[in-house]
């Protein structure tokens, strides 16, 4: 009998007796006999020790970022995670609790979500934030859906400088309800082509969606874009890198109506793509259309402060098919990690992280761009930048791996016009030595051509 199941044979016999039956099988007689108890072809059960060894062996088949300098970003970021973060998230009372439907026994979770929401508002310059979405990509898709609910319009204008997967997820999410999606091209320096935006924005446009810093690392002119969107009554949805907001103006202060983002960079490791956490914040006036859960402050009968799930009538468990979204389970524990991270870094620390990324990325970009055969494309950037390489990008990456370096993101799969280009990301995790090593390796690769 498994060590996870407390019942012993004696316990089971006692229970069967109480139930007046002879075997547990009788409880399953309701299952059509011919389909009952199929033979399952699964590996034999293993003990805890064996499972750990097996998983250790699988884990070690992967080349991890503790042992290889990495210059990949493109939606998943390798930032420093202070030890505190996981210590908090490892408190059993947090991670073994359910969704805080029952406030009396969930003040820990509720308070921490409330604080997370407050800090997301502080970062984005928005009035309200929800308890989390699945990830950045679905947060952006839900922002598109929400814009349609707010404006009763069904066209979304999407910058092609947005993360390609995010754009595809938006298409997935909107395919059923049949929204129209138009993409705006990029100007010379890689940011939104504003003249094209002006052309495409019309009074059927629910929202203009942009990313800032954008997928190619570039900094968009949010103030101008919001003006353009608002001039036709459309909303501006901004997908932002929360680390960049340690340094850059809050999108809310530049006119954004909804701000979304991927929160993984706030205290969670890259984890091969998940669990991540979607940030979602909006202006107060749109609050009733926000998807997902919201925690609010309340006062109990004796005047004590407490926290509760609020505005629940937007949600699926009450509104069913009329809910603002189908989301139920979200990413509470990752949000707790993000909240802890933001508290640990705080006002000074987050700015410092952002500056470290900025300066190191610029140091790297300058050094690479100075190499013969390499060219940096695009204008101002934050921590990611595009380099045109002298040999095919995939070849560059293969050779970098020969030096033990995990190279950049190959842009060809998303942008045919950037066929021989790599998107490099530099964070506080890349030491000067790592960067110099990368530059040397690239020099070699360039010379060999």
């Amino acid at each position: 009998m498994s060590s996870y199941i407390p019942n012993t044979d004696t316990d089971r016999a006692k229970m069967l007796e109480t139930l007046g039956i002879n075997s547990v099988e009788e409880l399953f007689e309701i299952v059509p006999a011919q389909k009952r108890y199929p033979q399952l072809d699964l590996p034999d059960p293993l003990s805890e020790m064996e499972v750990k060894r097996l998983l250790q062996a699988l884990a070690e088949k992967n080349s991890d970022l503790n042992h290889h300098p990495c210059f990949l970003g493109a939606g998943s970021y390798h930032h420093f995670v202070p030890s505190v973060v996981d210590h908090i998230a490892s408190r059993g009372e947090f991670y073994t609790a359910y969704t805080p439907y029952q406030p009396e026994v969930s003040q820990g979770t509720l308070t921490s979500i409330y604080e997370f929401q407050s800090m997301v508002c502080a970062l984005t310059g928005m009035d309200a934030a929800n308890a989390s979405m699945y990830d950045g990509a679905t947060a952006m898709a839900e922002a598109g859906l929400m814009a349609a609910r707010v404006t009763h319009r069904y066209k979304l204008l999407v910058a092609s400088s947005i993360h390609s997967t995010y754009r595809r997820v938006l298409r997935t999410y909107t395919q059923g309800i049949g929204m129209e999606i138009q993409e705006i091209g990029r100007a010379e320096d890689g940011v939104v082509d504003t003249s094209q935006a002006v052309q495409l924005l019309d009074d059927g446009t629910a929202a203009l969606l942009v990313q800032h810093p954008n997928f190619l690392g570039g900094l968009e002119d949010l103030a101008l874009l919001s003006e353009l969107a608002h001039s036709v009554g459309a909303l501006l949805v901004v997908c932002a890198d929360p680390i960049s907001l340690g340094l850059l103006k809050a999108p809310g202060d530049l006119g954004a109506d909804i701000v979304v983002g991927e929160g993984q960079c706030l205290g969670s490791p890259p984890s091969y793509g998940g669990p991540y956490v979607g940030l979602f914040a909006c202006r107060q006036k749109y609050l009733r259309q926000i998807p997902g859960r919201l925690v609010g402050m309340a006062t109990d009968a004796e005047g004590r402060r407490g926290f509760v799930l609020t505005l629940q009538p937007r949600e699926q468990h009450i509104r069913r098919e009329k809910a603002t979204s189908n989301i139920c389970t979200n990413e509470a524990l990752v949000a707790l990690a993000a909240g802890t991270y933001l508290a640990v870094m705080g006002r000074q620390g987050l700015r410092q992280v952002a500056e470290l990324c900025y300066h190191k990325a610029h140091y790297a970009a300058e050094a690479i761009a100075a190499l013969p055969g390499y060219e940096r494309l695009g204008g101002r950037f934050f921590k990611e930048f595009v380099i045109r390489t002298p040999v095919p990008a995939s070849e560059v990456n293969d050779q970098l791996w020969g030096h033990g370096i995990i190279g950049g993101y190959e842009l060809a799969k998303d942008y045919p016009d950037l066929a021989q280009c790599l998107l490099f990301c530099v964070t506080e995790m890349n030491t000067r030595q790592d960067i110099d090593h990368l530059v040397e390796a690239l020099t070699e690769i360039g010379e060999e051509r």
């Binding site: 399952l40 072809d41 499972v51 073994t96 340094l247 998940g274």
Partner: protein, 437 residues
């Protein structure tokens, strides 16, 4: 004890983490784009730890007590899973790394897909959805894409039983479907006659939950299959309650075309106060072409030898509904599910369901005398009572819940399913002992 908020504890100049010094020359910052104020709190590490430790103690978790929330499968999850899911080789890998450098991760995902296929009897699995509702959306979009691929454009409706979880109709609606409710019969099953009447060529499919949210097995499952398939519809099965049927029945053999699993319920990821989860979605061979990209695939020996990599991410699905998330799903949750399945094997899985169902039925007989039982039959993984009799005496279900809290228990799910008056829904799971019950 009330704990002040982070912002209230904040004091200017404090910080919780020392960062490395800048080791490269400074570059010019884009002054015009910089923010003036960053209104985050300022605290030392010590204050942060104290704050969150105290907050945690205001929570009730499975680790601290019995948590019989119905529909939530609040089982105890082995601590080993927390450890293995944190191995550096699992968390410190980047989703865009080349496949050659992440063969361990891909192998784990590929094998997990295969195990879940084996358990559900549905051969093609996507691990991309990260929650039950996410799986529902994925599955319903697949159903939609399937009908469209056949030019069958007239199917605009989806049937959903009245006992269904709220995410079901909400997910169908997000796919653009009109939701029509199917009533339940006196034994808590889908009303088959009504179903027959509603099912026609305007209906894309039926979303059923089996065992359903009343903890009951759908008695007419084979008949339902005939009705729905007969009218050209597909059957979506909400598999959130699979904890009752592991190794006992395969939904794929009971007519299901699409099904999602809640890895965070059935396959042992703790709930985390509301996530992260995993909503792996399994479909028939016929529907596999519509799965979200990428799917993890295995190369044959020759190809594997040539490329140096046995496992890879397969993006090559022209009929795919597209990706439903930024990457490949909640990998960390998959690690736990994988560890769980390798620990249990076939025998262990069946033990889980047998004990979960035995516990629920035992609890049912113990409570039966005190509360109304709306459906007089044996249940599967959970049981639903009605506090109707108590309500007549002025004691509502919510009062009962509050009283249980006072006694140190987490109360059961209340007021769901909606079709039962003053519902009290209890799911003990297999990890509770006879004494506790």
């Amino acid at each position: 004890m009330t704990e002040p908020l982070l912002f209230e504890l904040s004091s200017p100049g404090r910080t919780g983490c020392r960062l490395p010094d800048l080791d490269v020359p400074e570059s010019v910052l884009p002054e015009d784009l910089l923010r003036d104020e960053l209104p985050l709190p300022e605290l030392s590490e010590r204050e942060i730890v104290q704050h969150f430790s105290r907050l945690s103690q205001l929570n009730f978790g499975v680790d601290t007590g019995f948590y019989p929330l119905g529909s939530c499968t609040m089982k105890y999850n082995p601590k080993m899973h927390e450890d293995v899911a944190r191995y550096a080789g699992f968390i410190q890998i980047h989703p865009w790394q080349s496949e050659l450098t992440v063969q361990g991760a891909l192998q784990l995902m590929c094998e997990l897909q295969e195990y879940l296929a084996e358990i559900t009897g549905l051969p093609a699995v996507s691990l991309q959805p990260v929650a039950g509702a996410h799986g529902e959306l994925t599955g319903m979009l697949i159903i939609r894409a399937y009908h469209q691929s056949r030019g069958d454009e007239g199917r605009v409706t989806v049937l959903v039983p009245d006992s269904a979880h709220g995410t079901n109709p909400a997910s169908a609606a997000m796919c653009g479907y009109k939701v029509v409710t199917v009533p339940s019969d006196a034994r808590g099953n889908i009303d088959v006659e009504e179903l027959d009447r509603l099912m026609d060529e305007s209906v894309a499919g039926l979303m059923l939950t089996n065992p359903n949210t009343l903890g009951l097995f759908e008695e007419h499952i084979l008949q339902i299959e005939e009705i729905v398939h007969g009218a050209g519809g597909l059957i979506y099965c909400d598999g959130a309650n699979m904890n009752a049927l592991l190794g006992v029945a395969r939904p794929g053999e009971l007519g299901t075309d699409v099904l999602h699993l809640n890895l965070h319920k059935t396959f042992s990821t703790p709930h985390g106060g509301g996530g992260p989860g995993g909503g792996g979605t399994a479909v028939t061979e016929e529907l596999s072409a519509f799965l979200p990209v990428p799917v993890v695939a295995r190369r044959g020996p020759d190809e594997a030898a040539a490329s140096g990599a046995e496992y890879y991410l397969d993006y090559d699905r022209s009929l795919s509904i597209g990706p439903v998330g930024g990457f490949y799903g909640n990998f960390g949750v998959m690690v736990k599910a994988y560890a769980y399945l390798r620990s249990l094997g076939e025998r262990g899985l069946r033990e889980v369901s047998e004990n979960a169902v035995l516990n629920a039925n035992y609890l049912l007989t113990q409570i039966k005398g005190y509360y109304d039982l709306p459906y007089e039959r044996s249940c599967l993984h959970e049981c639903v009572f009605s506090g109707k009799a108590q309500a007549k005496l002025g004691v509502h279900t919510l009062d009962i819940a509050k009283r249980l809290i006072d006694l140190g228990f987490h109360p059961p799910t209340v007021y769901f399913p909606l079709i039962v008056d003053e519902a009290l829904m209890i799911e003990p799971t297999e990890t509770e002992s006879l004494e506790t019950l």
